[in-house]
């Protein structure tokens, strides 16, 4: 592994762009802020290019605190794509709410830097710095519409639960350090693998880490904040927050549980099975009861986290890379379909007096055929119906669970995914087969409507969902390659 500052060049590019955005924003007239999002989007392109160019080698810097290896390359490119998509979705919505500021894009970029650091950290200290950079930026993004009580309430709830989770996670990491005498992932993994450590302390550390990560990815029993945060946050910010932090957290979870605690899987797998089943149960059943679409998507994303945890169990149990690469592929598919679904809500909120309720979706196909078509594709994908990305992602994921010898868990997962198909297809039924109630019919407002950025973002998300569903090989190979190169092994 080469020791070189090349390892953090993509992060430096994003930080530079964020600082430029913060500096020029106050000097611009309100109208001049149109198109500011492209500064942020354009920063993601060279960052992704520099990651791609470095893919065949491995670099590390900050005295082995952070490494750009094959695993990090996959996650960084995915996270940069998520950030660019989030910025594409935002501009019009911010302008309509009178909050079109460069700060927003700067916060998205800084949160992305935090996520990228989380994915490529190989030391507990750098991981924690990345985690907090992501978390602090996310709290502010959730509260970006600070004149709306809901947004501030979402922000405060996110802050309180998120910081609590960070403290718990930190205590777990301190115990890992105390046990092994090192903060380096590889040395921790070797020390734990030696089997000479106190088993009771390892159990406490596992419980604390699992609890902290469960908060971060909104897994049961610590999922309570997610619906409130996604509902209250500005919709484009919710699109970003429902995807980005989860991708980064799963990158870290894979490293923590399958690498560092890989030899202790007998201690964490039973716990994880309970958490995964409870998460799927709560996500799938509570989503049935929701009439607010943002809350429905929040509970559905909780159910998706449950499926991902199943693959994590597979990754911990068997020594093949099948489970981990299924997680990576699922995350890529989930990013496109979930952000797209939130993007459709942004589009509707921009073009009509829309309050995110299911009733307002009635008869949508007639008034907004394009948006309804996109939403239908994304709902099919979230439900896991071929030929979409969601189907293949779920197929690989459950195949990996069966492969690891947990056929009964895969059966439970498939059952919950059948339940979940109900609430996704219900949206399609409302859009295409229901007549709107006259009083709730969303009214087109003059001057509202189209935004070129938003349409591009929605088009890209839909295209990714369909292409991944038909031609999964490149991304799947990249995922397998990434897992094979984790921690330079």
């Amino acid at each position: 592994m080469q020791h070189d500052v090349v390892a953090i060049v993509p992060e430096l590019m994003l930080v530079a762009a964020a600082l430029v955005l913060l500096l020029i924003d106050p000097f611009l007239p309100a109208k001049g802020r149109r198109g500011l999002s492209w500064l942020g989007i354009m920063a993601c392109l060279p960052a992704a290019a520099s990651v791609w160019l470095a893919r065949s080698q491995q670099f590390s810097t900050f005295s082995h605190g952070i490494a750009l290896d094959g695993f990090a390359v996959f996650f960084k490119i995915l996270l940069l794509a998520v950030a660019a998509l989030a910025m594409l979705l935002s501009e019009k919505h911010l302008a309509r709410n009178g909050r079109l500021l460069g700060d927003y894009y700067a916060l998205v970029l800084l949160a992305t830097v935090g996520m990228m650091v989380m994915a490529s950290a190989i030391d507990l200290a750098t991981f924690f710095v990345g985690l907090e950079l992501m978390a602090l930026s996310s709290y502010l993004l959730a509260g970006f519409f600070r004149h709306q009580l809901r947004s501030i309430e979402a922000s405060l709830k996110y802050f309180l639960t998120g910081s609590f989770a960070s403290a718990i996670l930190l205590f777990g990491m301190a115990l890992l350090y105390g046990l092994t005498g090192s903060t380096n992932y590889q040395q921790i993994s070797i020390a734990i693998g030696s089997g000479s450590l106190d088993g009771h302390v390892i159990v406490i550390a596992v419980v604390l880490l699992l609890g902290g990560f469960a908060f971060k990815v909104a897994a049961a029993p610590f999922h309570g904040w997610a619906p409130d945060v996604y509902q209250g946050a500005p919709t484009p910010a919710a699109a970003f927050l429902s995807v980005g932090p989860k991708i980064a957290a799963f990158a870290a979870i894979i490293k923590f549980f399958t690498i560092m605690l890989g030899s202790e899987q007998a201690r964490w797998v039973p716990l994880m099975i309970v958490v995964a089943i409870a998460t799927m149960l709560i996500g799938a059943t509570m989503a049935l009861l929701q009439h607010d679409l943002k809350r429905m998507l929040a509970f559905s994303s909780i159910a998706h986290v449950g499926y991902l945890l199943l693959a994590l169990i597979a990754a911990g149990q068997s020594h093949s890379n099948f489970g981990s690469s299924a997680i990576l592929f699922y995350l890529a598919a989930y990013a496109a379909m979930n952000m797209g679904a939130f993007g459709v809500l942004v589009f509707l909120a921009n073009s009509a007096r829309f309050n995110d309720s299911l009733d307002e979706m009635a008869g949508l196909a007639r008034r907004f055929p394009g948006a309804a078509g996109v939403m239908a594709v994304l709902m099919f994908s979230l439900a896991g119906i071929p030929p979409t990305a969601g189907f293949l992602a779920k197929f690989y994921l459950f195949a990996s669970v069966v492969d690891a010898g947990y056929a009964w868990l895969a059966v439970i997962g498939v059952l919950f995914s059948v339940v979940s198909a109900f609430y996704y297809l219900r949206v399609i039924v409302y859009m295409y087969m229901r007549e709107p109630e006259p009083e709730v019919a969303a009214v087109m407002e003059p001057g509202g409507g189209r935004s070129w950025d938003l349409s591009l973002g929605l088009g890209l998300a839909t295209a990714v969902v369909i292409v991944l569903g038909v031609l999964p090989a490149p991304v799947l190979n990249a995922a397998q390659d990434a897992v094979a190169k984790i921690l330079g092994s």
Partner: protein, 102 residues
């Protein structure tokens, strides 16, 4: 020399007090202070581990510096959100967060 266990008991006790405060207190100011208590409890554990470690001594102290800086940033963000809340509601009570239910 004081045995390591004493430090860990102190750290665990402070962490528990902090966690209890976050869950039970209503004022946002008090909750943020309790979060600080939790972070500082971890700092005590990290320094103690670092002092007693055979290999990798000093790593813990370095970690503590990062945690201190981050905890300060965390308070700044928390209080900023609190101020925004106060401007809208004229109250700093966690129980007031009931706009969304479902």
């Amino acid at each position: 020399m004081t045995p390591l266990q004493h430090y860990l008991v102190l750290s665990g006790a402070l962490f528990s007090v902090g966690a209890w405060g976050v869950l039970a207190r209503r004022s946002i100011i008090m909750v943020v202070m309790c979060l600080e208590l939790m972070f500082n409890a971890v700092n005590i554990a990290l320094v103690a581990f670092s002092n007693y470690a055979n290999a990798g001594a000093g790593r813990g102290e370095v970690f503590v510096f990062f945690v201190l800086a981050i905890a300060a940033a965390e308070v700044a963000v928390g209080l900023a959100i609190g101020i925004a809340m106060y401007r809208l509601r004229e109250k700093l009570d966690v129980d007031e967060l009931d706009e969304m239910r479902g």
